[in-house]
C-alpha cells in the first residue's frame, strides 16, 4: 500500500480557504461516506435528530429530504439499522443493493473502471492503506474522495477536479443506486438517506454544469 503511517486524528478541513457552501458540501460528503460505510451508531442518530433545520425550509428539496431523515433518526434502533444496512449492502452474494458504483456505470467491464479509478486516485496521491480490501468504487469511498477534493479549496482548479471526478464516477451511477435503495422492501431509514443523497447529487450535478 502506498501510505505508511497515518495519525488517527481526523485532519480538519482547511476552513480559511473554503467557502461556506463548500464546507457544507464537504461535510455532506463526509456524512454520506459515514452512512454508507456502516450503519449509524446512537451518537450519530442523536446528532442527526437534533439538526432537523440544517438545510433550509421545506420548499427547498434538500431541506425537505433532510428534515425527513432527521425525523427518521429520532426513533430508530441502532441495532435494527445495523441489520438493515447489512441486508441492504453487505450480504455476501445476496445483498439487495450493490454499493459499488462501477456496477451502475457499465453493464460489463467493471474491472476496467476500477483500474481507471485506481490510476486516478494514484494521480491524486490517494490510495488505500492498511489491509483494506474493498474496491475503491464503493460509494462510501467515492464520497470520501469527494470530501477530500472539496476540502482542498474553492478555487476554479479545485472545483474542476471535483467536477471531473464526480462526473466520471458518481453522476451516472447515483440515480440507479438510489432508485434501488428506494425500491427495496423493509428499509426505512436508508430510504431517507437515499432521498437526501439523491437531492444533494442533483444539486451537485446542476452546479457542476455551471462551471
Amino acid at each position: 500500500m502506498s501510505a505508511t503511517r497515518l495519525s488517527e486524528a481526523p485532519v480538519p478541513i482547511g476552513e480559511s480557504a473554503l467557502s461556506e457552501e463548500d464546507r457544507a458540501r464537504a461535510d455532506l460528503y463526509a456524512l454520506f461516506a459515514r452512512l454508507f460505510y456502516a450503519a449509524p451508531d446512537l451518537a450519530l442518530l442523536d446528532s442527526l435528530a437534533r439538526h432537523e433545520d440544517l438545510f433550509g425550509a421545506d420548499y427547498v428539496p434538500l431541506g425537505q429530504a433532510w428534515r425527513a431523515l432527521a425525523r427518521a433518526a429520532r426513533n430508530v434502533d441502532p441495532e435494527a439499522l445495523t441489520l438493515e444496512y447489512d441486508s441492504l449492502f453487505v450480504g455476501v452474494g445476496k445483498s439487495q443493493v450493490t454499493p459499488y458504483c462501477s456496477h451502475y456505470l457499465a453493464p460489463t467491464g467493471r474491472e476496467r473502471i476500477v483500474v481507471a479509478l485506481q490510476d486516478e486516485l494514484r494521480d491524486l496521491e490517494l490510495g488505500r492503506i492498511g489491509d483494506t480490501h474493498e474496491p475503491e468504487d464503493h460509494i462510501a469511498a467515492l464520497c470520501e474522495v469527494m470530501r477530500h477534493l472539496v476540502s482542498l479549496g474553492s478555487d476554479d482548479q479545485a472545483i474542476g477536479r471535483q467536477k471531473q471526478f464526480f462526473m466520471r464516477y458518481i453522476c451516472a451511477a447515483y440515480i440507479q443506486l438510489t432508485d434501488e435503495i428506494l425500491g427495496t422492501a423493509a428499509t426505512q431509514f436508508y430510504k431517507d438517506v437515499a432521498r437526501v443523497m439523491r437531492v444533494f447529487f442533483d444539486v451537485e450535478s446542476q452546479s457542476f454544469e455551471m462551471v
Binding site: 497515518l6 481526523p10 460505510y37 439538526h51 449492502f89 480490501h133 444539486v203 452546479s207 455551471m210
Partner: protein, 63 residues
C-alpha cells in the same frame, strides 16, 4: 474567479447547500471515522485512508 462562479455559488446557496458547518459535528466526528485522513507525509505526499474492510467491521460489531 471566472464568470460562471457567482451563479454556481448562488445556485448552491439557493438550493440550501450551505447547511451550517454543524454537519461536521454530525458526521465526521461520530465514528467509526470511515475514511480519509489526508495529511502531509514527510511534507511530500498526502496520505489517504479508505475504509476498513466493511465485512470485517461487521464481524467485530455485529455480535
Amino acid at each position: 474567479m471566472d464568470k460562471a462562479k457567482p451563479s454556481r455559488r448562488n445556485f448552491l446557496i439557493a438550493a440550501g447547500a450551505t447547511g451550517a458547518a454543524a454537519v461536521a459535528a454530525i458526521g465526521a466526528k461520530t465514528v467509526p471515522q470511515p475514511a480519509a485522513t489526508s495529511q502531509k507525509e514527510d511534507g511530500k505526499r498526502s496520505g489517504y485512508k479508505l475504509t476498513e474492510h466493511i465485512r470485517n467491521y461487521y464481524r467485530t460489531t455485529l455480535v
